[in-house]
Amino acid sequence: MRVRWSRLIALALPLALGCGGEGRGPEEAASVAQAELEPLPELDLAGAERAAREQLVEQRGVVERLLTAGAAEPAELAEAFGDLGLLYVTYEFLEAAEACFANARRLVPGDFRWHYLLGYLKMIQGFLPEANELYERALEIEPGFLPAVLRLGRGELGQGRQAEARVWFERALELDSQAAAAYEGLGKVASAEGDDAVAVGHFRRALELAPEASGIHYALAQAHRNLGQLDDARTHLAQSGDVAARIVDPLINPLASLAASAQFYIVQGAEAMDDDDYEASAAAFRAALEQDPQNVSAARGLAVGLERLGDAAGARAALEAVLETAAGEDRALILSNLGGLAALSGDESAALERYLESLAVIPDQPGLMLRAGNALARRGRFEEAIAQYDRLIEVTPEWVPAVLEKRATALVNLGRHDEAIADFTRAVAAAPEDHQLRMRYAAALEFLGRPDEAAAQRTVAARLTGDEEGRLAWVVESAMRQAREGDPEGALAGLRQALEGREDRLDLRYTLAALLAQSGRFEEAITEFEQILAAAPRHADARRGQIMALILTRRFGEARLKLQDALRNFPRHEGFALTQVRLLAISPDPRVRDGSLAVAIAERVYAERREPPVRQALALAYAANGSFAEAMELQRQLVREAEGSGDAAYLAASRSRLEAFESGSPWVASSPGEILAALAPGGVTAAVRKETG
């Protein structure tokens, strides 16, 4: 066998290298026919990333060396072809991959993997009948290989053969009664056969097993719709996406981590972000940066992912890591993103600086112009903001209503009221059906002492809110106006009424909860926040609101538990981390304090971001833990920083804490608000994501 195999390889070599078979004698030709190894197509890798090119060349070299040596066992050569084929699949060189798997299969036809992988390749190229034949062959050899059974079912479904598909999905359930993909498939079979009631049952079971499979929500919605159950349909449509029940596949799943090109992981990261899976997105962008540490796209993607996960410091670090080497537009975009992060952290000065630096390179980027204008306005530089808005109106006529509104607000601040009203009038003329714009215009008119005109705008706005969303927006606007006008009870009643029959509207419930908290009705607010979190555990704003309400009502123990839970969900959320540190360090309730734990958390955050808020939290933690020397050192630095800030209250507070530490006393909060200093409102860096996305 060995001798014959070596001869086979030797003869196969010219074919494998694409040299053809001309000039062979009859005996050789017979041997080659027996082997029939397919030549691997030549690929043009000139434009590929170096890492990817080297990876592909190296693995191909393995195959070619084995062929050249002529002494390899069929299994060894098949493995080499298989590995190379998987790489080709990863980079989507599918014809080359097919040749590899075909050769592996010919070399070791008893190995189910080669039939299966070749089937997979046929499947992704759309050759479903051929794919299914190969899957069936794989199953003859390995009858218990569940992925093949599930893919056979999907393949039959793809050919409109429901009865055959059902057989495979039912067989899959015999192999694994918890296979969500099998229930999903049976649901689709039932749907295709018009049996929507049965489909609903299967889809529901699939969702129980794979709640992340958003595509099943869509299928379920369609089934409900066909049954006339429109409310159920809408509920599932609201949760729908395109993620199918995952097939756990030991042969295919590893493809996701084979590549050496940064681009491969960038694509993965972007796709995960589209699915709102920020953990996966960040992981993919990190992998891209491992391949290419200076890749700006990967760094910006990672920053977006981390920011969405509440890790602003990590996002900033990711951007700063590539800032030095980036040039031109890349550098400008990074600066713009850094500006967004600075704005989120409340550092308006830094934000503005970044925006302006970025604008110097890409002056006509509308999103950046708007953010710069807004930052200028927030810094009170209204004239410059107006100039920025004027440029923006020239560049993006379609943004005119929104920009005019911003411009009008700046003009109000400059006391140029007539011009402001003129801008608002133009904005409303440009977007006459924007009821929310009219509501804001009404608020401005109220502010300017023109209540009759304000009322007129509100009346028009009310008339415009014809549809469901419009009515709800009107209810919310009205409630907020009532609250501003000193009628919180009226506002709350309106919101509660709006929620009737719409219990799943978390946005409405959040508004209600926030208004309850603002009105000092913390207990009710806590209950409402809890309901939101029961439905959406990753609702960061609801967590923040609930924790604030618990601390403000001095329920420090519960707050500590909620913070622990929040950090489990958002492990890198700086706001939650620092609030927990402060609670553990300076809580008025001694039963809640835990200096050691406070130090551990604070040191972790401080290692990543050595800025005053974190430094303060760490100093308080050190003091609570009895480490006064460390606490004093940090606090002295804070005092020096406070001296340079020009903020007298901040300086006084810093000095008081230093005095306490110098006297060997930990700091204890005088009010709950002191604990909440780090839990500023935050949210999503939409601007960062939009730019990067």
């Binding site: 197509p41 030549e42 690929l43 043009d44 890798l45 000139a46 434009g47 590929a48 990333e49 890492a51 990817a52 090119r53 592909l56 990863t90 980079y91 989507e92 060189f93 599918l94 014809e95 992704i124 190229q125 759309g126 050759f127 479903l128 009948p129 479904l157 793809g158 050919q159 409109g160 429901q162 689709k188 749907s191 295709a192 958003s214 595509g215 929500h217 869509y218 299928a219 919605a221 369609q222 429109l230 349909a233 809408r234 449509l237 729908s240 996406g241 395109d242 993620v243 199918a244 590549a259 090109s261 940064a262 681009q263 491969f264 694509v267 537009e329 379609e398 977007a431 059906e433 996305g693």
Partner: protein
């Protein structure tokens, strides 16, 4: 005018009344042998010497591979279809024709081209198509980088006008009825400056004047600053997600004003179309999807959910695509929708939807339940696996064999570099072959079943080109549907049908009352004993970037006669004829005096 005229008498039943001798080929004209090709390439023999110039110069810019558009229209009213083909220009700032990778075939300045069909009739034989380049008739007007075209008689003067959607300002070319066109963009107010790829004339408000939908794609970045890569990191063309999406535009036709000019107003906001976020539109098609008697609009977007704009009868639309089941496919995934057509594929009387997609996505068939609820029937119809290896653009519902069922012609061409072609050193490694699917009839579950008949469709289907646009129409007036494929960076292909006219057929051209122009939106039903009623709607829209023959063609299968033909005009006028003539086109005119209109 070719064919027979049928005039409705007060909306009741009447006998067909020929008013002019038919000159068309009679039913039962000699057919090609069954083993012969279904379509034959007549591009060169017909004198269609156009070559699309895409402006590529070495960078990989999405704009250069997006376009390829044309229209089949009878601009001179002589009863046969002429061809309007859109041209490209250099892409990228500062680039000149000297920089082009492939120099243009036509002399500068490059403009769209108009070809007049001087069809020669051959009694008992194959009609002879002869296209004559009459681009001078355009007066040098079409100067933009053309990417989409719509055809309709916007001013109700009886002559079809042409709206050219460009990358940049669009142009409305008014057919002056004397063989020439005039640019009336400024005076009509329809010069949208987006990246237009779809242009659809339809009367959404029922006032008798054709309104205009313009589908816009993305804001291309041709500076080279936006670079995209394949998974191996090699430079490749970007997808739409790399660029800002553009909003679509809907213009309402205000009719003829006091000065005698027809003008439009931007109704995007007032109709509710602005409630959808901008998406990269590539296709659009109209039909009464929910069966309420009002025309609706379906918009196909590239990689984003599609829109089903249902007409709310008050001058507004609402997007119901998601609940209706036609925003995303059965897996809940937004697909890269390119071309879209509507037709009654399952023969149940309502308009279904078929649209083309990217490689590794299926093309998708959505079947309508008659009330505007759709189900993805792609797999059941046998259309899934065959489409996965291709990136498809233009498509046409055409009953190529006149058996009474709508078949599908699909035009393909990739949008990212194909590795095998790159490795082979191909200078334009995007080309793919086209496909033809035959409708085999409904299965027991009700879905139609299609068979891939590309292998026997003819040698023209062996050509591998970068297909984009596709306009269907009976170019040789022999009673079967031909097709004009418009390729990017290459010549078009005039595919002449060799088999359809071997069967019995019935043609219909509903016209509007006052202007005698094609009555876009009119619906015609043909009934024959033992057969499923066939329902068709007059439209030039659909496919990708292209405009089609508005005439309706009904294949009669083995039947030699139809029992009846009934028509409903957009203004509600209706008429029915018993035993309409077969083997010719009948001009259908409503009972004038009812309804409004130009």
């Amino acid at each position: 005018m070719l064919g027979t005229a049928l005039v409705a008498g007060c909306g009741g039943e009447s006998e067909p009344r020929p008013v002019q001798s038919p000159e068309s080929a009679a039913a039962g004209a000699p057919a090609a042998a069954e083993s012969g090709p279904i379509f034959v390439d007549h591009t060169a023999s017909a004198g269609l010497d156009f070559v699309h110039f895409n402006g590529m110069w070495g960078d990989l810019l999405l704009q250069e591979i997006t376009c390829g558009a044309g229209a089949l229209l009878d601009y001179d009213g002589d009863g046969d279809l002429d061809a309007y083909l859109l041209q490209g220009h250099m892409v990228g700032p500062g680039k000149t024709l000297d920089d082009a990778t492939v120099p243009p075939r036509h002399q500068a300045p490059l403009t769209d081209r108009l070809y007049r069909n001087d069809l020669a009739f051959a009694a008992g034989g194959e009609n002879s198509i002869r296209f004559v380049d009459v681009t001078a008739a355009l007066g040098g007007a079409p100067t933009g980088y053309g990417c989409g075209v719509g055809v309709g008689d916007y001013d109700g003067d009886g002559w079809p006008d042409v709206y050219v959607a460009n990358v940049g300002p669009n142009q409305l070319l008014r057919n002056q009825g004397d063989g020439t066109f005039r640019d009336v963009t400024a005076e009509t107010g329809v010069g949208d400056e987006g990246t237009g790829v779809a242009a659809v004339f339809f009367d959404y408000d029922g006032d008798g004047w054709l309104d205009l939908f313009v589908g816009n794609n993305v804001t291309f970045d041709n500076t080279g600053a936006t670079v995209c890569r394949s998974l191996s990191g090699a430079p490749d063309y970007c997808g739409p997600g790399a660029y800002p999406y553009q909003a679509d535009r809907l213009y309402r036709n205000l009719g003829r004003g006091r000065e005698g000019r027809v003008t439009f107003a931007d109704a995007t906001e007032s109709t509710g179309l602005a409630t959808s976020p901008p998406r990269p539109t590539l296709g659009a098609v109209t039909a009464d999807f929910d069966g309420d008697g009002w025309v609706d609009l379906y918009v196909a977007n590239d990689g984003q959910p599609n829109n089903l704009w249902l007409n709310r009868h008050d001058g507004t639309f609402s997007d119901e695509a998601l609940l209706a089941g036609c925003a995303v496919n059965a897996s809940g995934a937004s697909e890269a929708s390119m071309g879209v057509v509507t037709g009654d594929f399952d023969g149940d009387g309502d308009p279904d939807l078929f649209m083309t997609h990217l490689i590794k996505e299926t093309n998708t068939l959505y079947l309508n339940d008659g009330r505007g609820s759709f189900s993805d029937a792609t797999a059941a119809a046998g259309l899934a696996s065959g489409s996965l290896p291709f990136t498809s653009f233009g498509t046409a519902p055409l009953d190529y064999d006149n058996d009474g069922r709508l078949d599908l012609l699909i035009v393909n061409g990739a949008v990212t570099l194909l590795p095998s072609l790159v490795a082979a050193g191909d200078p334009f490694p995007l080309h793919q072959t086209n496909q033809l699917f035959h409708n085999e009839g409904a299965t027991s579950a009700g879905a139609p079943r299609f068979a891939d008949v590309t292998d026997r469709a003819g040698k023209v289907f062996e050509l591998s080109e970068v297909g984009r646009g596709l306009a269907r129409g009976d170019v040789d007036n022999d009673g079967d549907i031909d097709a004009l494929v418009i390729n990017n960076g290459g010549p078009p292909r005039l595919m002449v049908n060799q088999v359809g006219s071997s069967g019995s057929w019935l043609g219909a051209r509903p016209i509007s009352c006052a202007s005698a122009s094609d009555a876009l939106g009119a619906r015609v039903t043909v009934r024959r004993s033992g057969g499923t009623p066939q329902r068709r709607r007059v439209q030039t829209d659909g496919s990708f970037s292209s405009a089609a023959d508005p005439r309706l063609l009904f294949g009669m299968g083995a039947a030699r006669a139809a029992d009846s033909l009934s028509a409903v005009w957009p203004d509600g006028s209706a008429a029915r004829w018993r035993q309409p003539p077969v083997g010719r086109y009948a001009v259908l005119s409503p009972s004038c005096g009812r309804g409004g209109g130009p």
